[in-house]
Amino acid sequence: MNRVQGLAIRMAVIAIILFPGVSRPQSQAQTPAPPPPAQQPAEEERNPFAPEPAPVLPPGMTGADANDPRAKLAPGLYDAGEASLGLKHLVLVRKPEAFQLGTADPDDPKVQKTLGRLGMSDTSKMPKPMQLVRAQLAFANSDFAFQGNHLFQGNFYGVSIYDISKPANARLLTSLVCPGGQGDVSVYKNLLFMSVEAPNGRLDCGTEGFPPEPPPPAGQEKENRRRPPVAQKDRFRGVRIFDISDIRNPRQVAAVQTCRGSHTHTLVVDPNDKNNVYIYVSGTSFVRQPEELAGCSGEKPDKDPNTALFRIEVIKVPVAAPQDAKVVSSPRVFIDARTNAMNGLNNGGTHGKPGSEKPKDTDQCHDITVYSAIGLAAGACSGNGILLDIKDPVHPKRVDAVNDPNYSYWHSASFSNDGSKVVFTDEWGGGLGARCRPNDPNKWGADAIFGLSNDKLTFENYYKMPAAQSDAENCVAHNGSLIPVPGRDIEAQAWYQGGISIMDFTDAAHPFEIAYFDRGPIDPKVLVLGGEWSAYWYNGYIYGSEIARGLDVFELTPTQFLTQNEIDAAKAVRVSELNVQNQQKIEWPAKLVVAKAYVDQLSRSQALPPDKIAALQKAIQSAESSHMNKSALAELKHLAPSLAKDAGTVKSQADATRLRALAEILEHPAA
């Protein structure tokens, strides 16, 4: 605050010197009062990049574990210290040049000037992190989509397309340059979808943005300080559609404009409609002027019933004619069913308890995950988590909504495979801040796990990556996907510079960590935006989208929390396409490796006595070694009925499900 205080005083002084005509008392009366006394040492004030420690923990809250091996890792961009458990890091493919700031930029005269002010005479001494600080978000890596051997990594500046036929040797194929942030991606057949929200987005993928307002003519600096904006017909905010038939030469085939742009989007495939796919658009930023896009209004609902606030958009994409894609509905998903008020949802997003009556200002969704197999979608919508019935995908209807006193910003959602749970995330601080420090409460910026039955959500517990992170590491709950281990609910999740944490939430009330990977901060003293944006499992590997560094590839390794059989069973599940927010039901093959995973779990939970476990292991082993000969198959079949019977008596629902699934495989094992 020193600097600001000094500034305030200087302001007054400068004002008096520059404008003697203004009488002193008047200027005194209108000058902002000096801010409170200094709280930081003067030394710190010289470095605007120095991070600050967290404030003290609020009463009754606990923070992260400062003794975790992840808490104090060495810093570095490409040589940071690493810690991991149950995860093997295979490779980091560095972010391509096309998404790095041109090296000529630090020579910008203005930067030179700053360096001079900071006591540095030449740019060669410019700290690398400072260069990164300038560029960090403009070229940040963002979300993933997968198809066959191709991985699509979104970036605020475009999309990187990788060949992952050999995941440990992932290879860049194409850098698609097309700025506009945040580059959320989905893929369906030959179509690639991309979200654009920022005002520099252009229809033609140009990198030049739009020219700033020219400086006002001399003598008119003070009047007419800002002129009204120019409607730009070439500006693009919405969802782009590329044809990727030629993976090395994607072409833009459509660009569907929306009023608030697209912060994220969700691919929706209607099981009853083969000719079209749908895109749910979540826009979170300002509404543009109607001169630029007809019909856009940012007014409150009482002033304009057609306001672009308080809604999502649905784009219909004819698969055979994507150029005809257009917005076909703008569902009012926050409507109050009794009063028909379109702003019918309460914001529970406070970390205090300001009052019993909560305001009703949830006007946007941040991200929506659809689970067409159960006809539902979970929306993370700023102040609320909502549940939508999407059986008619063009007209989603809200069936439940929740809020949470510890939630700041409802960010994303995912279902358990059986649809009995929903994991929401709270992106407290927007991902730009350090929020996993020892003094940051572990209920803030965390996952919230809800039970789901009969279209009703019930809060069970929070989960936050447990290791303390430094002041220089942006960290909060972010994107994750299910790992298809049968018999358990396991999610791989990205926590920005908190790394990747893998959580078991089979028991929603008692989630726990089973594996992790983390790097030290990019810089020890400067919070340089980085870390994992998304961590998704795809066909046997876990991919991490590192904002600043590139593409990470991992493999699971066995630990006391996860056996090799469970890992192998997860690897037995193959999909041809993965868009995590378009959740697909995982089906496990009736293979013996899946049976072995269940046996391991029943042994771990002690649902079966050791002799029974041993008998099962022996029978499965002999079936495998005999290539499933008749007598071995008969033995497996013989064991099945008693397992089905046990399922009726075991205490835990999870064990009962495992026993039944195991019995089924033993009855009819697949080769």
């Binding site: 500034l7 400072m130 960090q136 194409t174 700033p212 930023s285 308890k353 009556e357 730009l432």
Partner: protein, 246 residues
């Protein structure tokens, strides 16, 4: 990697400079000189002969063909607008007053709800001040304004940024205690936050402003958060002072 490319020579000259910076300058000049698309296309064809090398593609407008860029193309930032710089400079001062207001809470009121709200406003706005100063310093812009706090001073001498409390208002807040303080704080902070919304609106209403990715995220986030806090404070006012019509 490109040794068998027929058009390699055409493209090779910048690499000879053996300096990324020199190349960036050269390629910048090339781009600035609007080199015909054919140039890059021929380079692209050269690249295609080696399937192992990645390509850099810039799609055109919908329905239009894509363009190949040289494989060493680097990214550039969109133009920065003076309105963005002023927004940050002004918002620092604006935030500083909010922090100053919340600093009074502990000694001026025992209200638990207000203390909790104040702690959160103070923590997030202090953090944001740091962020804004980093943003400005990293871009070589001064953290202070040439003429700070003097928007529209022709008509209103020394007018403050939108929503900022005047010295008189601040003085009244400082002198108030308990219920009176709660009232002045809530109404004052609502006024203050509404001013921030105006500043964000002004920013996005300015041609060319808001193209910086971090500023865009920051301003959008500030708008969302402060809007939510205004509603929370309005509800607190309604609860604590039901006799008043809000």
């Amino acid at each position: 990697m490109f040794s068998n490319a027929p058009n390699w020579r055409l493209y090779r000259f910048p690499r000879k400079l053996r300096s990324a910076r020199a190349f960036a300058v050269v390629s910048g000049l090339l781009l600035a000189a609007s080199v015909p698309t054919d140039f890059f296309c021929s380079v692209a064809r050269a690249q295609q002969t080696d399937p192992a090398s990645p390509v850099v593609v810039q799609p055109g407008a919908p329905g239009k063909p894509s363009t190949r860029l040289p494989p060493s193309a680097t990214a550039k930032l969109p133009p920065r607008s003076q309105a963005e710089v002023e927004f940050m400079q002004e918002m620092i001062l604006h935030h500083a007053q909010a922090v100053e207001m919340t600093a009074l809470i502990l000694s001026h009121t025992g209200d638990k709800d207000l203390r909790s709200l104040g702690a959160r406003i103070s923590s997030s706005q202090s953090d944001e001040i740091k962020f804004m100063r980093r943003w400005l310093a990293a871009r070589g812009e001064p953290v202070s304004m040439p003429m700070p706090g003097m928007r529209g001073m022709d008509s209103h001498p020394m007018a403050l940024m939108p929503g900022m409390l005047t010295s008189a208002q601040m003085e009244a807040l400082r002198k108030a205690k308990d219920t009176e303080f709660d009232h002045l704080f809530l109404t004052g902070m609502i006024q203050h936050h509404n001013g921030a919304l105006t500043m964000v609106k002004d920013l996005f209403d300015t041609a060319g402003a808001g193209q910086d990715a971090e500023l865009f995220d920051f301003a959008t986030d500030a708008d969302n958060t402060q809007r939510a806090e205004i509603r929370i404070m309005q509800t607190m006012l309604e609860k604590k002072f039901p006799e008043e019509k809000q």
